[in-house]
Chain length 408, copies 2
């Protein structure tokens, strides 16, 4: 972490106090796309976006790289990068990510893990790591069954069902630590691994987890096909430098879904209650405009449409966002960044590694004069083709007049 | 510093001996700019520069990044970068920078600091860190008063007034070291901090500084509003690898102002007496052409015009430099780099974080064929948009035929 801290230290030492300028980070989840026909246009290039195009003319453009070259980001690390933290160095544990995704109110001493119900044979060897993809209803019933029957007198236990065979495991107790190995061997034909502490202060949690696993195996023994479980990514709410402290900002997060509100909480942002629509997100932005100076606004539906392989719907959502853009511009932000957290091409029906269209507008920017907001337009912009996502925030601070000179 | 030294070691091991090729680094201070009207041109784009444009056609272009993304450089670190030293790792102390700025002839064992006259209340708490921005004349008088009355028998003391409430403090003695904390708390409502040594070999200087401070407070007691002082950035002439040794060059610095001659001295360059005009700088270049093989030529007035918000004057100075360019080209340099140390847009009346137009001409370059020298022309060039400033020098060495192959 030395380099991270050093970089933050330098940046932090340059942050001006008492600045009132305002920054908006508008994230269209999964924004980047691909043509579905050879020689065709991407979702963003297809969408009619007069407002975004007009803003592009006055902005600097580029394609940002969320993680490293060729790496497809999950939502957590992708947002951590947009918040100015190098996601390779500030790595969120799998358990914590899962807890954020189900809107679990994780406490600093909680130990969280991602759980899978699985199938084992008589010798205890795993035969199906997903227990035949049991239905979500069955998963919920199994979580209930375990919660009713497992006895861990000195702890609180939470099991929150996710989709199908997945659940979130949380152990709550005083002074727990999470340096514990996965019980999931990530392969069939092997037994589950015994949870072992990798540090002395994680022994207490490891003992409790072993007790949980052995009781759970007893309770699930006669279920079929989900007669066992594995846990991985034991982790805790990270003790990272807080966003507001590092960057000298008073931040507000506006989002509809738990994962994005959660990842904002992770860096200590103030988080609004869940919005029910993009329009309501704009209402919240306007209503809190005078109370904060950094606004993270998250648009989910671009990603969902991409994941569903629905090219036209993704185009339509982008056009809806374009129609809302004047509401943001009417607030006169000093800096407005429009980007995605990653690409989700409808063609691939999944997140992808392709760099993400990005535009930074500010009255103090040196405009590229490219009057179009799309992947290939952005690739001609001055931010270049693989701009590290976590360097957007320092750039926003600079354009907002929030950084002192380095050296005299 | 490990990485720094390692990088230099590799480069240094490749430097050829006995090469006679010549490199010119022409720095127009604060060259980068911004349009003053939406959709308009920058200062450099506005200037009529037929000679620079013709040279651009045969050159490689790009925009260089002086420090890190979003960081606005001071003159010192910006030049350190152009001299091939990573300015984040080779960080010049504040005191040394101030001493360079007033053309003080700093010796290796001198301890320098930046001083502020300030105002304290009866309890000794700072009420104004700038003593009501006293005039430069008052600042000069106070420096004189202190120099006449402070007694430090075993040391030499220098106090050189800067503008208004600022002065440079230099303590001269044998074997002094400067690991000493700031006395400036950088906030009002607090007392000045007592100068403490952070290493054993800095104790002697710290004791002398405490004595200076307490005598100074006695002497200034009845002055108003400047009845006290604070010191920060205790530092010494750095013990860095010398430019000529690292890069195998015999260097000559040509500049009009102390800061730039000083920063060249810092890396051990030969430095010409101050020039009185750009024309005289060209005279010096011609007169010393056969005696050196690396020439740093510094043009100040682009920056001053930018700082004054005088767009037209900055354009005019750039045109004057363009008119002088043939005098450099007539010398047939093997490499000519034309760049700035940072941007100083007239729009912002200050240094800024925007990357800096850069062109490297050499008969051995692979020309971009872009026949224009301006910000947006450079952003299309093959050096890219954020070329690290400290990588220009190795590139110049290569184009000058001064580097051996890496590996056989």
């Amino acid at each position: 972490m030395e380099n991270v801290i050093m970089d933050f230290d330098i940046l932090n030492s340059l942050v001006k106090e008492g600045e009132k300028s305002k920054i908006v980070l508008l994230v269209m989840d999964g924004l980047g796309g691909l043509p579905i026909t050879p020689g065709g246009k991407t979702e963003l290039e297809t969408a009619r976006t007069p407002n975004l195009d007009a803003l592009a003319e006055k902005s600097i453009l580029g394609l940002q790289l969320p993680i490293l070259q060729g790496m497809t980001p999950g939502s957590g690390p992708a947002h951590i990068g947009l918040f100015g933290y190098n996601p390779i160095k500030f790595n969120i544990g799998r358990g914590v990510l899962s807890a954020l995704g189900v809107d679990f109110d994780l406490q600093p001493e909680d130990v969280a893990a991602r759980g899978n119900f699985c199938t084992v044979d008589e010798a205890g060897l795993i035969t199906d790591r997903r227990a035949g993809r049991i239905s979500t209803e069955v998963g919920e019933k199994l979580c209930d069954l375990l919660l009713k029957n497992v006895k861990l007198p000195d702890f609180e236990l939470f099991l929150v069902p996710e989709k199908e065979y997945r659940f979130v495991f949380v152990l709550r107790g005083k002074g727990l630590k999470a340096d514990i190995c996965d019980t999931d061997p990530q392969a069939t034909g092997k037994p589950a691994i015994i949870a072992q502490a990798d540090s002395l202060d994680s022994v207490e949690a490891a003992v409790a987890i072993r007790s949980f696993v052995s009781q759970a195996n007893e309770i699930l023994r006669d279920q079929s096909p989900a007669n066992s479980l594995v846990l991985r990514g034991f982790s805790q709410f990270p003790d990272w430098p807080r966003f507001n402290d590092v960057f000298g900002l008073n931040s507000n997060a506006i989002a509809m879904y738990p994962m994005y509100r959660g990842v904002a909480k992770l860096v200590g942002m103030h988080v609004m209650p869940p919005a029910n629509s993009m329009e309501e997100e704009m209402d919240m932005l306007e209503a809190t405009w005078k109370d904060y100076d950094f606004f993270f606004v998250h648009i989910k539906k671009t990603d969902s449409a991409g994941e569903d392989g629905n090219f036209d719907l993704k185009v339509h959502v982008i056009e809806q966002v374009d129609a809302l853009l004047p509401r943001i511009l009417n607030l006169n932000p000093d800096v407005l960044i429009v980007t995605g957290d990653h690409s989700t091409p409808a063609l691939l029906k999944s997140h992808s590694w392709h760099p993400v269209p990005t535009m930074l507008y500010s009255p103090t920017c040196r405009p590229d004069g490219i009057g179009e907001y799309g992947e290939r337009a952005c690739s001609r912009g001055s931010l270049g083709n693989f701009y590290p996502s976590y360097e957007l925030l320092p750039l926003a601070l600079a354009h907002a007049g929030r950084l002192e000179k380095f050296g005299a």
